[in-house]
């Protein structure tokens, strides 16, 4: 039995299938294990070579072990065959292995289906604009391969691509309507595999030497903020994250949650802003110090950190308010104060001794604070991304020997000093500063803006923010990290570029990305409701959304169908070309009667316009072939012949 599917594959289809395979798998090479990308590349090259040399495809007995080997490799690498990474790796391997098995039409169909599916997997890794553009292009290539597969030998490369592009263009309005109107649900439509949210960098809930200096090397964006009014001055831009109260000699950790609500006394009018936070897998948000309590969707814990119910697994947008001048917990529980005086026993003796010596001299707590800050600003301390490694008594070593450190060193040393001097103190992690993008007015806060500072509790004033880094390097707070660090430090090039044009390009690109994030990726149920409201849909619910959706899709399909029919009747491409040829001939004063056959016209031209004879003969021949022969869809020859008419 010989069905269409079992037919032998046309040898000349193969380049299209290779292109489709390459376009759908290539971006995965960046995040897959090297051996996997290498293996797929090797198989791809081998398949190409076989095709080029017109060699026989390898037998099943070679392919089966190869598949088994690939499965074992994936199993060894990922410890599973399922999940995001392993699943995608399997698909990529199958795709490349299928290239060695392209015998029949059916094999090609399988490959193309796999290609369409693989397109989707790229969104697990990136939802950026370049990814979207690449995937649209890749989809067009896969569609072109499908057209070529069914188009026979007549389909030329360029028209095939153009046709595929046309199909993609026709799909766009449907995509837009579905995107805007399909009822949104919060969260993904289906559960993503466990490993889908891995490996996003960002501030963690602990602080140990080196944790911030690592972040400083990243120019990735942590959050974007849009203020309703003016952006507050830079030295007020402290983005509060986790507050760390417990110190074990090396690492700072937050204390277990307490239900006690914080009390905030606002000394300045509240500032409203909207913040888009990149996924960081934590249960707290970064909020401008100090967040105003009473937020609807999230809580504020006793250390004034804004918390969420679930870890932030995807980019999210929040409307928040803050007061930059405030008094925080003037009345503090004694338990909390005690906790913030605790130090690990028998560690850092010199630091403790120094602080205790201050305690005896100074009676006022503020004076002690100033003394410590004066220590940092005066005594040859350096601000650097590359501090030396510290031993067990890390604070002692830092204060008395190395004196070189990043913000976490200064914050930690300062808090230890304060606690030893009897002043409740703790470390606050977060970000400081940010850069205003002049294109869209958003304040962009990057990972390199990650910062640690201290908070001390002073009687009558409550918790007061103290930033010891500012004493060492005032530039850090006023100008950002790139200004604060000497040129020899290994900051990412993006941050240190000072050329205006490069900066402008970066700003524009980030503004475009931000718009994409805000408008497209951030199109959530709330935004949809708001948008539909603006469209005049008073009460958008599932029911009338479905009706609207069905109506619009129906109208679109109707419009497309009508257009297709119109185009078919009006512009049969062969006839269209023939009429354009007749128009050209008419310029030479030769008119064709509607009943006159092309051959009759040709004979007439031989007599009336001998100079046109050979050019028009080519047109007539190509036209008759295209219109009346059994299986000819070759428009190219006709088009070329017409182009040669005077």
């Amino acid at each position: 039995m010989s069905t269409a599917a079992a037919q032998t594959l046309d040898h000349r289809c193969a380049p299209w299938l290779f292109a489709a395979a390459l376009a759908t798998t290539l971006p995965h090479a960046w995040h897959q294990p090297t051996w996997l990308s290498f293996l797929s590349g090797l198989i791809f090259a081998y398949a190409n070579w076989l095709w080029w040399r017109n060699e026989r495809l390898p037998s099943r007995w070679l392919l089966i072990p190869l598949v088994a080997l690939a499965c074992v490799g994936v199993m060894y690498e990922f410890r599973t065959l399922l999940g995001r990474d392993a699943g995608v790796a399997m698909l990529v391997l199958f795709m490349s292995l299928k290239l060695l098995e392209l015998r029949s039409q059916r094999d090609a169909t399988v490959l193309i289906t796999l290609g369409y599916f693989l397109l989707l997997t790229h969104y697990f890794y990136s939802q950026s604009i370049p990814t979207g553009l690449w995937l649209i292009a890749a989809m067009t290539i896969v569609t072109a391969a499908l057209i070529r597969l069914h188009g026979g030998t007549a389909s030329q490369p360029l028209p095939t691509l153009r046709y595929a592009g046309l199909l993609t263009m026709q799909a766009l309005p449907f995509m837009l309507v579905l995107y805007v109107l399909f009822p949104r649900i919060s969260g993904p439509l289906w559960g993503l595999p466990q490993d889908a949210h891995r490996a996003s960098s960002g501030l963690s809930e602990q602080m140990s030497p080196g944790s911030f200096s690592d972040l400083a090397l990243s120019s990735e964006i942590a959050l974007r903020v849009h203020f309703d009014g003016e952006i507050p001055p830079r030295d007020k831009l402290y983005w509060r994250g986790p507050v760390m109260e417990v110190f074990d000699g090396r690492t700072w950790r937050p204390h277990a949650e307490q239900k006690q609500p914080p009390s905030i006394e606002a000394l300045s009018p509240p500032i409203h802003y909207e913040s888009t936070i990149e996924a960081h897998q934590q249960r707290w948000l970064l909020a401008l110090d100090a967040p105003v309590p009473g937020l609807k969707d999230f809580g504020i814990n006793h250390t004034l950190t804004v918390t969420t119910h679930q870890a932030l697994q995807q980019r999210a947008r929040f409307a928040l308010s803050a007061v930059t001048n405030y008094r925080f917990n003037v009345q503090e529980e004694s338990g909390v104060l005690q906790r913030n005086l605790a130090l690990p026993k028998n560690l850092n003796p010199r630091t403790v001794a120094l602080a205790q010596s201050w305690q005896h001299v100074e009676t006022d707590a503020s004076a002690t604070v100033n003394r410590a800050l004066a220590l940092f600003s005066g005594d040859n301390f350096a601000y650097t991304l590359q501090p030396p490694l510290l031993g067990e008594n890390s604070i002692d070593e830092f204060l008395f020997q190395s004196r070189r450190g990043f913000c976490e060193h200064y914050a930690a040393a300062f808090v230890v000093l304060m606690r030893a001097a009897g002043i409740p103190a703790r470390v606050v992690g977060g970000y400081q500063g940010g850069e205003r993008n002049p294109v869209d007015g958003f304040l962009v806060i990057r990972q390199s803006d990650a910062h640690a500072w201290a908070e001390v509790w002073l009687a009558g004033k409550g918790w007061v923010r103290v930033d010891p880094t500012a004493s060492v390097s005032p530039n850090r707070v006023e100008g950002g990290i790139a200004l604060a660090l000497p040129d020899s430090e290994p900051l990412p090039a993006l941050l240190t570029v000072r050329a205006d044009w490069a900066r402008a390009i970066r700003h524009r690109w980030e503004a475009i990305n931000n718009a994409w994030n805000q408008q497209v990726l951030g199109y959530n149920p709330a935004r949809q409701r708001e948008f539909l409201h603006q469209l005049g849909l008073a009460n958008p619910n599932w029911k009338n959304l479905t009706v609207l959706l069905a109506t619009l899709m129906g109208l679109l399909i109707l419009a497309l169908t009508a257009w297709t029919f119109y185009a078919r009747r009006r512009l049969d491409p062969v006839q269209h070309l023939w009429h354009s040829a007749l128009k050209r001939i008419a310029k030479s004063k030769v008119n064709c009667a509607p009943w006159e056959t092309p051959l009759a016209l040709q004979r007439r031209i031989e007599i009336e316009r001998p100079e046109l004879t050979s050019a028009f003969a080519a047109v007539v021949n190509a036209y008759l072939e295209a219109r009346y022969s059994a299986n000819n869809t070759d428009l190219i020859t006709l088009r070329e012949a017409i182009a040669k008419l005077p």
Binding site: V620, N621, R627, Y628
Partner: protein
């Protein structure tokens, strides 16, 4: 025709060119009519030649029969001709004490029915039945006619005395009707100089074997008629029905005949597809005897067919 590299425009060697050339030496200056007759045969249809006596109707039939290797019989139709004279009779054989069928002249591959309109309608219809059914029934027994079976009927113009004009329904049985007409000056001169074309026709040798004709007919029927071409044929038929020139339009059978004839015409040109030119070429021969002019009682004139062609744009 033009010498080009284009397959459609170049005059190609048709499969039966040598046959046409040989026939052209006998019936001088009538290449087009010979080609029409051959196309009619290839389409499996029958041919009606209508013209004055002595223009070469019989010679054409003779020449075709010879060249195609067909066995040939001629029936001269007269007013006293009976159906049995055509199909044959059963006579009693005394020795065998049984009836024996003596086949009539119709049991030939090519039958020339000369002056068909001189016979009575009864006899005419006996022939036309046989043409349509490809078989004859004598005394309850059905006998198949040979394959191929091809009738060339000739008739004198209807206004001559002592004729029984064929009714339209009978005319429709003929795929084509052609007129030979007088030869042009050059051909006439050559004819006069050479003389005795009829004898030369009898001396022709066969170019084909009769048994190969069904295969050729099948080939001709395979010629591709694209959708736009069928549109054109349909437009012509519809126009004939709408036209005020004709009493009634072309029948579906006429449409099929037109397409079949156009296919054979294209095949004779060595082409694998039918062009509108082919349709226009065969249309007068296929349509004229099936259409009746509103003015006067006769069949449609050649000019009416030309008007029909000019009124139908090629889709």
């Amino acid at each position: 025709m033009l010498e080009t590299k284009f397959s459609i425009l170049t005059k190609r060697a048709g499969p039966l060119d040598h046959l046409l050339a040989a026939a052209g030496k006998i019936i001088l200056g009538k290449d087009r009519e010979i080609r029409q007759a051959l196309a009619c045969l290839l389409s499996g249809g029958h041919l009606l030649i209508e013209d004055l006596p002595g223009v070469g109707k019989t010679t054409l039939a003779h020449a075709l029969a010879r060249l195609l290797g067909l066995n040939f019989s001629r029936i001269q139709f007269t007013s006293d001709l009976l159906p049995a004279d055509i199909v044959g009779v059963s006579i009693y054989d005394r020795e065998k004490a049984a009836f024996r069928f003596l086949p009539g002249p119709i049991f030939s591959e090519l039958v020339l029915a000369d002056e068909i309109n001189r016979a009575t309608p009864k006899t005419q219809s006996a022939l036309l039945e046989a043409m349509e059914e490809q078989q004859v029934t004598v005394e309850g027994e059905t006998r198949s006619l040979p394959k191929p079976f091809f009738v060339i009927a000739t008739q004198n113009p209807a206004h001559q005395i002592g004729t029984f004009p064929l009714p339209e329904s009978q005319l429709d049985r003929f795929l084509m009707r052609i007129e030979l007409g007088y030869p042009d000056r050059l051909a006439e001169r050559a004819l006069l100089a050479a003389g005795g074309q009829r004898e030369r026709a009898d001396q022709l040798t066969a170019v084909l074997e009769a048994s190969s004709i069904p295969a050729l007919q099948a080939q001709a029927a395979q010629v591709h008629a694209a959708a736009p071409l069928i549109d054109y044929v349909q437009a012509l038929i519809e126009a004939s029905r709408q036209s005020p020139t004709f009493q009634h339009g072309l029948s579906p059978r006429a449409g099929l005949a037109l397409l079949a004839a156009a296919r054979s015409w294209a095949w004779l040109d060595g082409r694998e597809m039918v062009l509108p030119d082919d349709v226009q070429e065969v249309l007068p021969a296929v349509a004229r005897h099936r259409l009746r002019s509103i003015q006067g009682s006769g069949m449609a004139r050649g000019e009416d067919i030309a008007t029909l062609i000019h009124n139908v744009p090629i889709p």
